[in-house]
């Protein structure tokens, strides 16, 4: 029983790996196959009737997600049509100024936050597991939770337009306009979209872990489908781009709710800080939207060219390079704010440099098409349209990246044209190409070739009729975001052309939507792999099965369906890994990050109500403060925490019935993992990177005020109590130490000592929270931005410490009730990891409140 002494998380796989050809050629008896299929079918059964909505499987959640995002896009599109009608003639009075401002604010916000980013996540949730031959995402309930959050938040935000209460300060929400705005519009924007951003980050974490840890055995990083690479890059970008906005939203809402003057220049605040935080998010956001669409093109192009993609590593590297460079562009949205020329120059330079990796990606596609035998299919037609439009948008992008030229066209219709060219070419067209390409994958029916061509030509011509003239409209002096314009500027006829074009686009979308939604019951199911693709998603069986892949293959090539001819047959027979579900549990295989060696059988979670409840309460916690109803918000937040604890307690890191399990092909894999072996640990690590970025944004804020404002902190200002800050920092450090020690003690079998650490931890945390609160209590945050910033840092720390405290108690409870033992200690590893970040946050906060201001 040597095994029982080593922690379950440290068990090594046993048996044969990699499999040999002889093993793969062994037949599977028919009765075994039938029994296995029955087991799998039972384990992966979609809930029936009204319980359908408790499904968490990626194929269901991904579908809901996609349709919801598509619906929000149609709504935002209708808003655009209303705006185009208003702009049909000069001094038109169809729509009032106030209503128009709500419309363009909501059009931009919805397209960005409710369509473009969620659409990437939706499509990825839907198809990434299939690309990787996995059965599901690593955390299905997290996907479901993210979806319900998105739905609730999205309906709340977009619904406000029907009540004439929508935000109306532009999708960029510049203070002081947005801080002064009467009504609840700005609060809806800030709280509703923060809520959705949290959901987006959750999805990003899951997608990153999925691409890193849920690849099929043998699929090394150098043979991963390009889509998975893009998921990694984009997920990473979301992790570093969204948190600055969340930090900005946090400050903004504190100003709106409690009058803490972060952006009010009369009390030392600075509206420029918001612009920095917003655009540090806002520019990477453009690439977050664009790269996944390139990824779709990267899946369509090889199929069309009938050959592997040319320059695989070039494309991967371009994606990574674009990801990096995109964080050096944000000030090009602020070229007219009066920053020194030389600062603008840096951002002009980076904005030009980012064109190079983008160009490499496009040229790699063209090169693949040149080197291949092209069969022009409908998805390819959309890709061609995308290229025509995107290159035009990219070239105007090169123009506006030159700062002095931007001084002329910034905030004019030239920019409206430019951004729609990049977004239609870089997002809408490739996504529609993806819908035509992947529709047979997820619905097992083809879309209509004829309707598809109609939709293409309507949208393509309509788009150019609508947006090409806008370049000239802008050059003739029409600013953006005007609800009307005087006659005599020579822009009347241009606006009329644009309006006509907008309705042609709408007609195209109507055709497209009809093609998707029309009943297809009379239509035959597709043949397997209708496009002749080479990647794993086309191995799925017809008719549809809910288990994804029948068995998880051993993959050594980039286009296994082309290069490993016997593979599909072996998969179907269940010759590969995890062909069975004997315990009736949903399982997928976890592999190593670089070489994808099989490491573990991961039990994934099944249908649940708790995710819906958790999302509902989380929604309440964000939505009630919009109406300044704080008590119900706090109640909702508490219930949300309870729901999430219940969900984690009942379905994650449970000690398994057996430590090892046959995974097929003579390989035995552990069923439990802790620490860096566990997907949950990776998820915590990745989430906390994002969280640390948000915290770094707050710290950046302090230094920003110091550079931009000679009186920060104001001379003679009262500082936080040094003693209390020091005490708080010491208490948090001790709590951190206690948590880390508990992990070691627990693993060493000294359960009593570990529990003592988990009792001391929360007490020390609580003491630290009290000390840090009292240290700033004498400062009045409404008087000046300096005390407000100190309070904000305090609130941030206290909020995180509360989470840390709950986690310590969760582990203590786990230890007391046998969920957490010396052998099964994954929870404590994850909590310790969280505490590493929290400990650092506490130390930095201590320095920022107690030391730094005294030295400034």
């Amino acid at each position: 029983m040597k095994q029982n002494r080593i922690p379950a998380g440290d068990l090594a796989p046993e048996g044969i790996y990699p499999p040999t050809e002889e093993m793969l050629d062994e037949p599977v008896p028919d009765e075994v196959r039938a029994r296995q299929e029955d087991n799998l079918r039972a384990a992966w059964k979609t809930p029936q009737g009204w319980r359908y909505w408790t499904a968490v499987n990626n194929s269901e959640v991904g579908l809901w997600y996609t349709l919801t995002a598509f619906f929000f896009m149609l709504m935002a599109g209708v808003m655009a049509l209303l705006m185009r009608l208003q702009l049909w003639a000069p001094e038109n009075d169809l729509i009032s100024a106030d209503r128009f401002n709500q419309l363009f604010t909501m059009h931009g916000s919805a397209m960005m936050f409710l369509f473009a980013v969620p659409m990437f996540e939706a499509i990825s949730i839907l198809i990434l597991p299939a690309f990787l031959g996995a059965r599901d995402m690593p955390f299905p309930r997290l996907s479901a939770y993210g979806y319900w959050c998105f739905l609730i938040g999205g309906v709340f935000v977009i619904g406000s337009i029907l009540f004439d209460a929508a935000p109306k300060a532009g999708w960029f929400m510049y203070p002081p306009l947005a801080t002064k705005e009467q009504g609840i519009g700005s609060d809806i924007w800030l709280l509703g979209l923060s809520f959705i951003e949290v959901a987006s980050i959750a999805a990003a974490v899951e997608l990153i872990v999925g691409a890193l840890k849920c690849r099929p055995p043998g699929m090394r990083v150098n043979v991963m489908p390009l889509y998975a690479w893009y998921v990694l890059v984009v997920g990473g970008m979301i992790l570093f781009a969204f948190p600055p906005l969340i930090a900005g939203d946090f400050l903004f809402e504190l100003e709106r709710s409690f009058d803490w003057p972060f952006f009010d220049p009369t009390r030392g605040g600075d509206p420029m800080l918001w612009q920095h935080l917003f655009w540090i998010f806002g520019h990477p956001e453009v690439y977050i939207i664009f790269l996944p669409s390139i990824a779709i093109a990267a899946m369509v192009v090889p199929t069309v060219a009938r050959r592997p993609i040319l320059g695989y590593s070039w494309i991967v590297l371009s994606a990574v390079g674009t990801g990096f460079l995109s964080f050096g562009l944000w000030v090009h949205h602020m070229f007219t704010t009066g920053l020194p020329n030389i600062s603008l120059g840096f951002f002009s330079a980076a904005s030009e440099a980012v064109v190079i990796p983008t160009g490499i990606q496009l040229f790699a596609f063209v090169a693949t098409l040149i080197a291949g035998r092209v069969v022009m299919t409908l998805p390819m037609l959309w890709i061609a349209g995308a290229l025509a439009i995107f290159t035009a948008g990219g070239l105007t992008g090169v123009m506006v990246a030159i700062a002095p030229f931007d001084w002329q066209v910034h905030d004019t219709y030239f920019i409206v044209a430019h951004l729609h060219y990049t977004l239609f070419g870089g997002m809408i067209f490739p996504v529609i190409a993806g819908v035509y390409y992947f529709f047979p994958f997820f619905r097992k029916k083809m879309l209509s070739e004829r309707l598809g061509r109609w939709a293409f030509w309507l949208i393509f011509t309509g788009f150019n009729i609508c947006f090409l003239p806008m370049h000239l409209t802008g050059l003739l002096g029409m600013p953006r975001r005007v609800y009307t314009y005087p006659e005599g500027l020579g822009i009347d006829w241009l606006n009329q052309i644009s309006t006509v074009g907008a309705f042609i686009i709408a007609a195209g979308f109507a055709v497209f939507a009809w093609d998707i939604l029309r009943p297809k019951s009379g239509q035959p199911q597709i043949e397997r792999n209708p496009w002749g693709g080479g990647t794993l998603e086309w191995s799925h069986e017809i008719p549809e099965t809910k288990w994804g892949v029948r068995s998880i293959p051993y993959v050594t090539t980039r286009y296994p369906l082309w290069d490993q001819p016997k593979m599909v047959d072996r998969m179907d027979r269940g010759r590969y890994y995890l062909p069975d579900a004997e315990e009736g549990l949903r399982e997928t295989i976890v592999t190593s990050v670089i070489d994808a060696r099989p490491l573990q059988v991961q039990r994934v979670t099944g249908p649940a109500y708790i995710t819906i409840l958790a999302a509902g309460f989380t929604g309440g916690a964000f939505i009630f403060p919009t109406f300044h109803l704080y008590p119900p918000a706090i109640v909702c937040a508490a219930f949300a925490v309870v729901c999430i604890c219940y969900w984690l307690w009942t379905s994650t890191a449970r000690p398994p019935e057996a430590d090892m399990k046959e995974a097929g092909l003579g390989l035995r894999l552990p069923t439990y993992a802790a620490g860096p072996q566990a997907v949950g640990w990776w998820a915590v690590w990745i989430t906390m990177l994002g969280d640390a970025t948000a915290f770094a944004s707050l710290v950046f804020g302090v230094f920003f005020y110091w550079t931009s404002n000679a009186a920060f902190p104001p001379p003679g200002a009262e500082h936080a109590s040094g003693t209390l800050v020091a005490l708080a920092t010491a208490a948090f450090a001790a709590a951190w130490l206690a948590t880390r020690a508990a992990r070691g003690l627990n693993r060493a079998g000294r359960v009593g000592a570990a529990r003592a650490g988990l009792v001391a931890g929360p007490l020390l945390t609580a003491a630290g929270m009290a000390a840090i609160i009292f240290s700033v209590l004498d400062l009045d945050p409404t008087t000046h931005v300096y005390p407000a910033m100190m309070w904000a840092l305090m609130v941030w720390l206290v909020a995180h410490a509360s989470a840390g405290l709950i986690m310590q108690l969760y582990c203590l409870a786990g230890s007391l009730f046998g969920k957490l033992t010396p052998r099964y200690d994954a929870d404590l590893w994850n909590v310790t990891l969280f505490w590493h970040f929290l400990g650092l946050t506490a130390l930095v906060t201590g320095a920022m409140i107690g030391l730094v201001p005294r030295m400034m």
């Binding site: 090594a12 790996y17 040999t20 150098n222 050096g328 020329n341 050594t556 990050v593 072996q677 931009s708």
Partner: protein, 141 residues
């Protein structure tokens, strides 16, 4: 039973740590180029901001521009060295596809080497571009 180039090693309990240790150098190379670009970019932007908002009256800009120029040269040299090492690791006249039907560690190794080289190239161009404003614009206006 073993095919040529086939990688028969068993996965271990701490497989991820092992693989990362094996590719530590390649992974460094991949991230180092862009990280140097990012560092150069941030230092240039931050020091110019602090100078223009806080220190403009205390000393002339030439000193700052010279210092940042020296930093640029150092960054270019570092990226050049990384790129050169990556270039030598990678079989230049190979197929450039870095995959084969049985899958082996060498392909992955070469792929990461190539990756490092390309990212060094893009970072190099990025640093050169970012140095142009230092050369062409000499004041805080």
């Amino acid at each position: 039973m073993a095919e040529p180039g086939r990688d028969d090693r068993q996965p271990t309990a701490h497989e991820d740590e092992r693989e990362f240790a094996e590719e530590r150098e390649s992974l460094w190379r991949i991230t180092l180029g862009p990280t140097i670009w990012a560092g150069h970019f941030l230092i240039c932007y931050a020091s110019v901001s602090v100078y223009c908002f806080r220190l403009e009256r205390m000393f002339g800009m030439e000193g700052l521009r010279l210092a940042l120029g020296a930093l640029t040269l150092a960054c270019l040299a570092a990226i050049g060295w990384i790129g050169w090492r990556a270039f030598r690791r990678w079989e230049v006249w190979g197929t450039g596809e870095f995959s084969n039907p049985v899958g082996n560690a060498e392909d992955r190794h070469q792929f990461l080497g190539h990756a490092g080289f390309l990212l060094a190239l893009v970072s190099f161009i990025g640093v050169v571009f970012d140095a142009l404003p230092l050369l062409l614009i000499g004041s805080c206006r």
